[in-house]
């Protein structure tokens, strides 16, 4: 796991990433000073509730934040390229080729008035000079890879003629078309039926493993992360509050928010709840609601919802290591079983 910190070979290396929106003299930070690094082939889970800034993080990683949003970072290296001052042209060369993205709602991500083949071929032609026939063959092969039978016929379909699960598979096929180094997946299974969710999850995992593609999987669902990710980052109100290897974080959460999330998730790695072993685990909820952008409290943003909060929490805590690779942003981390 320590190889992860080797920046030289990281697919993505960002530190101090912020996305701000200027409003009435102040700057509201949807994403506030976060750092991420993803090694080749690694699966990183980014967990947070809606409004935590996780989607905005995803957009910023592809240079897709629109004005008035403003992105800043101390380091921003993508596939070995310095992206802090990158222009639209530089971004365009990476997008879809080295880094691809899959969105939450497959009903909205495919253009309703363009056929599937048009939308796939243009993604190939954006990066490679191949004939239309060759591009169509590549598109059909990509569809087959994500488990779509009868691919040549599906290529002629319009999005509305496909089911939601099928459309998400098409989106995944498009993301995989140019064999990217990193795929950013923004809750791609949330809008689907549970059974299809599981299928697509498994397929994504297999496909990325086979091609060595790294994956940043954004979700609000710890159960998904438990099944899929190598490491996990927990986001709250624009900041990363805890990060580390997925087994450690789920077994021994150090941040009260992570603990709360776990307790409100049905069957997120239940066997690892040592303290609850044998007893029937009761689901509980975190009191209150996540703060809206612009109403975030000073200091630790989780303070108003936290049972352990004290006067110290009026300051923003720093990320501190509780064990190698496992870091938490809290003045009162939860008691840990092992030292």
């Amino acid at each position: 796991m320590n190889s992860v910190h080797n920046a030289a070979q990281a697919v993505l290396e960002v530190t101090g990433l912020s996305v701000g929106f200027a409003q009435r003299g102040t700057v509201l930070r949807a994403v506030d000073d976060i750092s991420l690094h993803i090694a080749p082939g690694e699966v990183l889970g980014l967990v947070g509730e809606s409004g935590s800034g996780k989607s905005m993080t995803a957009y910023s990683l592809l240079g897709l934040v629109e004005p008035p949003g403003q992105v800043s970072a101390d380091t921003f290296r993508l596939c070995g390229k310095e992206m802090r001052a990158a222009d639209e042209r530089a971004w365009r060369q990476l997008r879809g080729r080295r880094i691809a993205m899959i969105f939450q709602d497959p009903m909205m991500t495919l253009n309703p008035v363009l056929r599937i083949d048009t939308q796939m071929v243009e993604a190939i032609h954006a990066h490679r000079r191949v004939g239309r026939g060759a591009a169509l063959e590549m598109a059909a092969a990509a569809l087959q890879r994500v488990g779509i039978a009868d691919a040549p016929a599906r290529l002629h379909a319009y999005p509305h003629q496909l089911s939601g699960g099928m459309r998400q598979r098409v989106a995944i096929a498009i993301a995989l078309l140019n064999a990217p180094d990193l795929i950013v997946a923004d809750e791609p299974t949330t809008a689907l039926d549970v059974t299809i969710q599981a299928q697509i999850l498994a397929e994504m995992q297999a496909l990325c493993q086979a091609s060595g593609t790294a994956l940043l999987w954004i979700t609000h669902d710890l159960a998904v992360v438990a099944a899929l990710a190598d490491r996990v980052c927990v986001m709250y109100a624009g900041r990363i509050v805890e990060q580390g290897p997925v087994d450690q974080v789920l077994a021994q959460p150090a941040h009260p928010y992570t603990r709360g999330l776990l307790d409100s998730t049905p069957a997120a790695a239940p066997s690892q709840h040592a303290d609850n072993a044998g007893a029937t685990r009761r689901l509980s909820t975190i009191p209150g609601l996540p703060p809206a952008l612009g109403e975030r409290p000073e200091g630790c943003a989780f303070r108003p919802r936290c049972a352990r909060a004290s006067a110290a929490c009026l300051q923003v805590p720093a990320l501190v290591a509780v064990s190698p690779g496992h870091e938490v942003r809290c003045f009162h981390p939860l008691a840990r079983v092992s030292a």
Partner: protein, 325 residues
């Protein structure tokens, strides 16, 4: 698809019959043409003879029946004033009005779509705001007054363009057209601009709001995430989506453009059917008014049909009976 067209045609015939009844009833109620047509000193017998000659002595429903059966044969009655077939009078003036309306619509679309697109892509720039402010002013400009002001500036003060009339026309497939000669354009450009102004404002706003809405859609973000150029994202992904409402509105508004050409034609002395309608209304020339209204209804129906078909071509989600689901 053929079934779709057939069903729409049947609907169209229905509407036409209902409208003919309404229009007939409406126009029938407009004063008695005899008062105007016959010498005030005429005797009762003279009046009765004149009424019989025009068919006005029959009950309303007989008049309607006669009207309908003749109308099916293309005869909408003779003008009380001109004595010649009403439909002929109108058809003779139809090309002038249609040319004016088509050119006006082309101006509105040709300028409106690019301007609206630009304003939608750059909403917070000086240019974007200026275009929007311009479109609000365009909405508020009284068309007839703008016509007068155009004449004042370009004809009276600057002397660049003629103040009225159609000027020489060139025949193309038997249609007299202005657009084929420079002199024709000099006569056409002011009235066409005048007529286009309101629709231009409408299309700018429609395109702008459509663009802004499309830009916020995930499919645009996804298209950008694929690494497509801005030109392709805007020119294909955005434009194809906003063309759907634009085509609908262009179709719906074309009829009203023809109707509102009454105003423009009377200002610029454009020899179209609008001017004829205005005169016929004041002279109670019933058959001409009737023929005009029915022609407008027919125009509406045809346009609606065309719009529906174009719509089905542009938007894969409609009109294809059994979709994949």
């Amino acid at each position: 698809m053929p079934f779709f067209i057939l069903r729409r045609c049947l609907q169209a015939v229905n509407v036409l019959v209902v409208m003919s009844l309404l229009v007939f009833a409406g126009v029938y109620a407009i004063g008695s043409p005899l008062d105007l047509l016959v010498d005030p000193q005429a005797t009762t017998e003279d009046l009765a003879r004149a009424a019989a000659a025009l068919g006005l002595d029959q009950p309303v429903w007989v008049q309607y029946g006669r009207f309908l059966s003749r109308a099916l044969g293309g005869d909408l009655g003779d003008s009380f004033i001109h004595g010649s077939p009403a439909i002929g009078l109108i058809l003779a003036r139809l090309p002038a009005t249609l040319e004016l309306a088509v050119v006006a619509m082309l101006i509105a679309v040709g300028l409106g779509v690019p301007l609206g697109l630009w304003a939608g892509l750059h909403p917070d720039t000086v240019g974007g705001r200026t275009i929007m402010a311009g479109s609000i002013v365009g909405f508020s400009l009284p068309t007839f007054w703008v016509g007068l002001m155009l004449i004042m500036v370009f004809s009276v003060q600057l002397g660049w363009l003629p103040a009225g009339g159609r000027g020489p026309t060139t025949e193309l497939f038997g249609l007299p057209l202005s657009v084929l000669s420079v002199e024709g354009w000099r006569h056409l450009i002011l009235p066409a601009t005048n007529l286009a102004l309101f629709k231009l404002a409408l299309i700018i706003r429609l395109t702008r709001s459509g663009t802004r809405e499309a830009l916020q859609q995930d499919y645009v973000r996804f298209a950008r995430a694929k690494g497509l150029s801005t030109g392709r994202v805007v020119g294909v992904h955005v434009l194809k989506n906003i063309l759907i409402p634009v085509v609908t509105v262009v179709g719906m508004e074309f009829g009203s453009l023809v109707a509102f050409s009454v105003v423009t034609e009377s200002i610029f002395a454009w020899p179209g059917m609008g001017k004829l309608l205005l005169d016929s209304i004041t002279q109670l020339d019933r058959p001409v008014v009737l023929a005009y209204l029915l022609l407008i209804v027919l125009l509406y129906i045809v346009i609606n049909l065309v719009v529906d078909l174009v719509y089905a071509l542009l938007d894969p989600r409609v009109g294809r009976g059994g979709s994949g689901r």
